[in-house]
Amino acid sequence: MATWDKVTVQAADRERIYAKNRTFFGDVVFRFTRKFTAVFGLVLIVLLLLFAFVGPFISPYSYTTQSLEFANIPPRLELIPAEGSYFYITTSLKVIEVTPEGTLLRSLQKTGEDGINRTMSFAVDDETDLVLAYREKPPAFLVDGKPLEAERRTVWNQSFRLGSDALGRDLLTRLMYGSRISLIVAFVATLVNMTIGILYGGISGYIGGTADQVMMRIVDIISTIPLTLYVILIMVVLKSGFLSIIIALSSVYWVNMARVVRGQIYTLKHNEFVLAARTIGSSNGTILFRHLLPNAMGPILVTATMMIPSAIFLEAFLGYIGLGVAPPMSSLGTMSNDAIGALRMTPYQLFAPSLVICLIMFAFNFVGDGLRDALDPKLKK
């Protein structure tokens, strides 16, 4: 028995590729899914989209449904038992009857106020009255002139899961509509910017020469202009509304995309495949759109993904300084703006939209980072 046998190798075996043959797309997916934050961001985006686009159909309210008697009710209620029922006292001293589980029933009718002793009375039914003393904090019910000693219970608001705003509209529903508006604005603006940027940058890079010089100097000039200011100016000129925001955002933000596309096309057009395409008589349009642009898609996609959070931010910013979508429509920015005035009384009205803005920003930044690493491993440090 020989210890060292000669291994016979088949010619075909030598040529075989043992590693799995992955396509470019498969490679991108592989690299993308390796990164936890990227996958997390993607899941977050899907959840946000469901929240914004499916949510409004499930919600029992519309974004305009007002119930003024239930204005400014927080998501967490401290209930006081009295007269065989549970009551919640709002920060503006209204008494609301609530079921033990937390569903709002009705706002009690105020029957009288004693300004000297700082008490108010509310009618529970035709015979009984509840007396509320508000000299001390927290306000308490009086029974025979003495504060009612009763065990309070804290429940979640079942009628308005995230509370209601100053006009008694359901915050959760408005948040869904607001996210929807913000996301649509961001997507449409990004799409328009992408189209303009690809056309402008593609043509500039492909033609080259003097035309390229002139077109890029124009881009240089536009990029020195403080864009936020211009978006605001355009918003002042146009009537504030959904369409104006999109026009304002799309008219200024394409510059970055144009630069990226131009740089890509400029380096790609010296490749042999362009020469080959030209030899077989392809038109300039075919070469640019069929051969060059698909090769530049990676950086374009990354730039587009990164554009979405800045569009969301800018939209929120515009809403915040009072140039957002017209009421009663809500967007994340206008909701934050509405909430800032009464921050001390109703902080929950600000937290909800702020949180959603942050989540959207995080999600798209994570996905953008992941895409960049997956599409262009050279950029990875």
């Binding site: 100097r217 240089d220 000039i221 536009i222 020195t224 202009i225 403080p226 200011l229 211009y230 605001i232 100016l233 355009i234 002042v236 000129v237 959070p309 931010f313 929120a316 910013f317 915040y320 300084i321 009072g322 140039l323 934050s336 800032i340 921050l343 001390r344 902080p347 600000l350 702020s354 803005i357 942050c358 920003m361 995080f362 930044n365 440090k381």
Partner: protein, 306 residues
């Protein structure tokens, strides 16, 4: 060098002209004149008003008058506040914004650069992760969210800091932190990645191999080169911070440029909007220009072609 400078200055003048032109045409594209109100003015009064504000001249004459005013630092009267000029707004608002911005820049530099260096030196350890997490938070959370959350927490809930007062130094803490949050996080990230890149260079190995102490290697050879990208980004950052952030000033009721701007947007005070935009843009462009020049001086690797 001279050619580069001339080219840059020409581009700068062209940009400013485009900005002035764009602002002017946007403001004149607004439907309705500045004196269109619910109540119809008598024709003579309106004609008088238009003449006073130079609105009866042909558009191109108005434009050249505007450019002339712009060159002589006269931005014209305010439409909404009689007797006030746009120059007044800027004279009142700019020092306040500039003071806040200046403090913010010092704060950013004092915090972000050490943070970035620390993260780079501890690359891959928990300290690095900690700094990067904070930096990611700072870059993604919008400034107005940071501002309102800080305000709620420290002023309303804990009562440690005043909300609206710039008389005491405590009043500056919240605006400075929320105004600088984004740039701070951004510069810390930039500093980290730039230092990491530099520390992998051959000349660092050379410095180490000739027996320099680690501190000397980092400070003399590493930091000096790693600071270059940070300086580039500093120009626009300084300009943006000095002229104020509209939102932060609005939230903390700071009477700076931003408040005047947002106010004039709300009031549709067209001359004020125009004037402040042009002032802001000029400031930004000049600042970027100065930093670009400075940048080419400190980094001899960059040839002044462009």
């Amino acid at each position: 060098m001279a050619r580069f400078l001339i080219k840059r200055i020409l581009l700068m003048i062209l940009s400013l002209f485009v900005i002035a032109f764009l602002t002017f045409s946007l403001m004149h594209a607004v439907p309705g004149g500045p004196f269109t109100a619910e109540r119809q003015l008598p024709a003579r009064v309106e004609a008088e008003m238009r003449a006073r504000y130079n609105l009866d001249a042909p558009l191109y004459v108005q434009f050249f008058d505007y450019i002339k005013g712009f060159l002589t630092f006269d931005l014209g009267p305010s439409f909404k506040y009689p007797g006030k000029t746009v120059n007044d707004f800027i004279e009142n608002g700019f020092p306040v914004s500039a003071k806040l911005g200046g403090i913010t820049i010092l704060f950013i530099l004092a915090v972000s650069i050490p943070l970035g260096i620390w993260a780079a030196l501890k690359n891959g350890k928990w300290q690095d992760g900690f700094v990067m997490t904070i930096a990611t938070l700072g870059v993604t959370i919008p400034s107005f969210v940071i501002a309102t959350l800080l305000m709620y927490l420290f002023s309303h809930k804990l009562g440690w800091l005043p909300v609206f007062s710039l008389d005491k130094w405590q009043g500056y803490i919240l605006p400075v932190v929320s105004l600088g949050g984004y740039s701070l996080a951004f510069i810390a990230r930039l500093m980290r990645s730039s230092l990491l890149e530099v520390m992998g260079q051959d000349y660092i190995r050379t410095a180490r191999s000739k027996g320099l102490s680690e501190v000397k290697v980092i400070v003399r050879h590493g930091l000096r080169n790693a600071l270059i990208p940070v300086i580039t980004i500093l120009g626009p950052t300084i300009a943006a911070l000095l002229t104020g952030s509209f939102v932060i000033e609005k939230i903390f009721a700071i009477p700076g440029m931003g408040v005047y701007f947002v106010d004039s947007v709300g009031q549709r005070d067209y001359t004020a909007i125009m004037g402040i935009t042009v002032f802001y843009a000029t400031f930004l462009i000049v600042m970027t220009f100065i930093v670009d020049i400075f940048y080419t001086i400190i980094d001899p690797r960059i040839r002044m072609e462009a």
